[in-house]
Symmetry: C2
Subunit: 563 residues, 2 copies
């Protein structure tokens, strides 16, 4: 079958202006180049060019999932409430979940992910350890009722996702299924031409390897991550750990009180004393399950309440209010210091044993200097709680870290037995006794990957796709009249016969300038122009990314493209 | 990449017993053979084998749609209310539509079909006659909240459909797009191995060619259609037309009143007079937009109120009630006759000019004989309104028609300008003036086709797929121990290397009997058994459909299969 797609017959209407509501580059360009069209807030239609890119990504995903022995299935998107009620997610998802009732009043939801249903399928289909391990995947439409759907297909309310689930009888088996997915994801993202980093997604209780995110660095991304310029360390900002440096043993003078009127903030204090904020110790008061607790960090750093919350979960962390100071004369607002304090004291590793600080003296208008950790007060618990900043030391090599924005395009997760416990998913073990199954879940945002690739590869002229996922291999432009059109069509047929996917712009009555502009905007990697020298059988071959142009005979051009 | 799928690693659990709730053959077998699993009422999960069949059908559909120049897109399933409100379908669909609200309280629906959204897309993308014709299609998940979802995937509430839409500027263009679809559908159904008939779906106002259904004859079907055993005529029962035979000119005696007490029904009348019901004329009273109207049909035939309603649409047809007789002494219940009647008289073509009837005399307990059409009364309008019965004459050749049950697997429809009018879809015409676009819509039930194929091809042993859509080309069975398993795997690799899709049953500890039974149930067209004579390199090749078996050397078997 011919692989030549004629522009005159393709439903694509390019726009010269950015859509009014578009903020990100991918949103602007995918709309302007006719790849997608907005149907409703966060709900998109994929037009012919967009569908091709989506299909190309899906094909790569399928090949690599099949290669690790995962089996493709297709589960419904419209799901009954009961299994999500059993797992707790019917409520936990809150407003993110699209809920509906059928004609009989029964509750349903539109699936955001399918752990519950896959667990039920496997419980039904697998009964013995011999049936495991099993890895199942689907490429399917997913739903999340985002509060602020934006950025085009980057964060939609209806989107395409590859989700897969592994089922094993042992922890080692789960680790193996996880490793297979991790390797497959690396291949997939490399093949589709995405620049990506793998970062630990959660520190603390879950263990570093239990969950990793695949991030595509891009300015339009909603995630911030840290990236080491010297080694391959990369992490979610919430997962960065700080290794406290060994503090040289130093003699510090005795604690000395300072009269510091009207200095309840670090800024006012540092200005008053003429010292760096980093010389001061900031003591943030929070309530942990209702109990007032102090968190000490250097004065120039911010406490990351998200990190703190994750470290202390399931305890609930709240900020203190004015009411909490009532009846607590020991807590002097703005002048709290850890020395002599009768409450739990958590500190950042930077507040290391042997270091000396300027901090509150627990008296109004008064601070103290030479307050030494381990001499004048003890830290009850060290936790990584500060907001990561550029230049913070890499936990792997010590070099200064960079902070970058990225798009989350994949997530792999060792779930363990949470869902198997909920649904009592057991198989008969080798010893003849029931064994509880352990699960992994793994996702790739397929429609989001289109936007991420557009973000990473586009330039001022338009989209600029990596070869494997471009909607065509070559964009042939007939830049002229009958002679050029004839040559363009002839070359297109020859290229198609050689197995290439060809888009040919033979639109009558459209100027070469418009065709060139459209070709740049649409972003097929190679552009072949039948122009001025068509009569001599000479065409121009242009690389969309580098802009390099070369005049070649038709035979040379075809040889070059099919090489 | 190897195409060998090992049964030991395939998630498939066959069942020996039919599921309790299954009524149709396809439902029973698709569940028993592990192709699908019920997730909720009318909502199904496609397991690995089922997904392969679904994909094979989708592939054929894509190839044939691409071949006629249709372009693939993917529109959302979650759709805003407004366009469906504009077209009237938000209400017309009634309980069939799944409706829901998003977090802001805005109304959405799950798309049953997409005429509205495609019209909007084309309005956005196409502005000139040069942009048309355009044909767009998608293979997508659709939703209908059926009152009684049943028969497995034959009638689900979530299902896979190929829907396409054509956009033309002229009626001739629409006819051409329609013809292209019709031809593509014939190819698709032939390629996937389906026995099908094309029937006119609606007679009357829409015109015979405006809508046709593709029906797959099957006992489990919910549609009844008429089929001519002598010519290729086939039609929806509602679309059958009756050609009135020429009535020989005969002298009839004068009208004669008959004393027929207590004979208000045809049955009592025929018994009283000792005549066939077909000699009597039944006059059904209905209200057409509130006006009482009589419908005359031979006494042995029933009026098809659906047909009558379609003929008279948009007028509303209702049955008369006792109240309607109040103050109408001219209408004598049970004894109405057309002669001298002062109301509109509609008749079936069988009530032809010159025919004589026994009918009511418009007096209680009295009938009349020799009431002649055209002499004693006039018919205001002839309409095909009787329920078709087996043996009715074929409108094409006159032979006696058969009535059969079938599954509707495709529907093609010349919509005309209904949606274009709603959304004011115009393009700039050749004359520089706006031209209203005319549309066609075309659907194939992809998941339903799986069930239809299962219904048509299965036998007592299980499923029996046509080659093009089977989940594999060959099912290799290792019927024995190590020797047989080794040979089975070796042959499988050779077959895969030759391009065949191979399923090999090498499950350790599973008896040959169970493997044979599973192979028959799963229904791959060719079964190759490495059994007793494996040591000599001799295998058995069995045709799943015919049951024919042959002993062949491995080389012969491979040559046979790859021929």
């Amino acid at each position: 079958m011919s692989q030549v797609q004629r522009m005159s017959r393709l439903m694509v209407k390019t726009l010269r202006d950015d859509p009014a509501d578009a903020e990100t580059l991918s949103h602007k360009l995918l709309v302007r180049a006719g790849y997608v069209r907005r149907t409703s807030a966060g709900i998109w239609s994929w037009l012919p060019l967009g569908k091709k890119v989506l299909d190309n990504i899906s094909r790569v995903v399928r090949e690599e999932m099949d290669a690790i022995g995962a089996q493709e299935v297709l589960l419904p998107a419209l799901l009954p409430r009961e299994p999500y009620e059993a797992s707790g997610r019917w409520n936990e998802y809150g407003d993110l979940l699209f809920r509906l009732k059928d004609r009989k009043g029964a509750d349903y939801l539109l699936g955001p992910t399918h752990e519950e249903i896959f667990t039920q399928v496997v419980k039904d289909q697998c009964t013995s350890y011999k049936d495991l391990p099993v890895m199942l995947y689907q490429i399917q439409t997913k739903y999340r009722d985002e509060a602020r759907p934006r950025s085009g297909v980057l964060r939609g309310r209806e989107f395409q996702m590859k989700d897969s689930y592994s089922f094993d009888t042992t922890d080692e088996g789960l680790a193996e299924s996880y490793a297979l997915h991790r390797a497959a994801y690396q291949k997939i993202f490399a093949r589709i031409g995405l620049d990506f980093r793998i970062v630990s997604a959660v520190s603390g209780a879950m263990g570093g390897s239990a969950s990793e995110e695949f991030l595509a660095p891009a300015g339009a991304g909603e995630d911030t991550f840290v990236d080491c310029p010297s080694c391959d360390y990369a992490a979610n900002t919430e997962a960065v750990t700080f290794v406290a440096p060994a503090v040289p043993v130093t003699e510090h003078g005795p604690v000395e009180e300072l009269d510091t009127p009207d200095t309840p903030t670090i800024e006012t204090l540092a200005a008053h004393l003429g010292v760096e904020a980093s010389a001061t110790l900031k003591n943030l008061l929070v309530k942990v399950d209702g109990e007032i607790t102090a968190v000490g960090v250097p004065g120039d750093r911010e406490v990351d309440l998200g990190k703190l919350g994750e470290h202390l979960a399931p305890a609930v962390v709240e900020l203190v209010t004015a009411d909490d100071f009532a009846g607590r004369p020991d807590l002097v607002r703005g002048y709290v210091g850890p020395q002599g304090l009768k409450i739990r004291y958590i500190a950042d590793p930077r507040v290391a044993a042997g270091t000396a600080w300027i901090t509150g003296a627990n008296k109004p208008g008064t601070h103290a200097r030479n307050v030494v950790v381990g001499r004048d007060f003890e830290v009850d618990e060290y936790l990584d709680v500060v907001v990561v900043e550029p230049g913070d030391p890499c936990p792997a090599c010590g070099a200064g870290l960079k902070l970058d924005r990225a798009i989350e395009i994949g997530h792999i997760f060792q779930l363990g037995r949470k869902y198997a416990d909920t649904f009592q998913l057991d198989v008969l073990g080798q010893q003849g006794k029931p064994v509880r199954v352990t699960m992994g879940s793994y996702g790739i945002g397929v429609s989001r990957a289109v936007a991420a690739l557009a973000e990473q590869s586009a330039d001022e002229q338009g989209l600029c796709w990596p070869a494997e996922i471009a909607p065509a291999d070559v964009h042939v432009v007939a830049a002229g009249k009958a002679l050029q059109t004839e040559l363009a069509l002839d070359v297109s047929e020859q290229l198609a016969a050689a197995g290439l996917r060809v888009l040919v712009d033979e639109r009558p009555g459209v100027s070469p300038g418009v065709k060139f502009t459209d070709a740049e905007l649409i972003g097929v990697p190679k552009i072949l122009v039948a122009g001025r020298r068509s009569g001599e059988g000479v065409v121009e071959l242009k690389d969309r990314r580098t802009g390099e142009r070369e005049e070649l005979t038709v035979a040379e051009a075809i040889a070059r493209l099919t090489a």
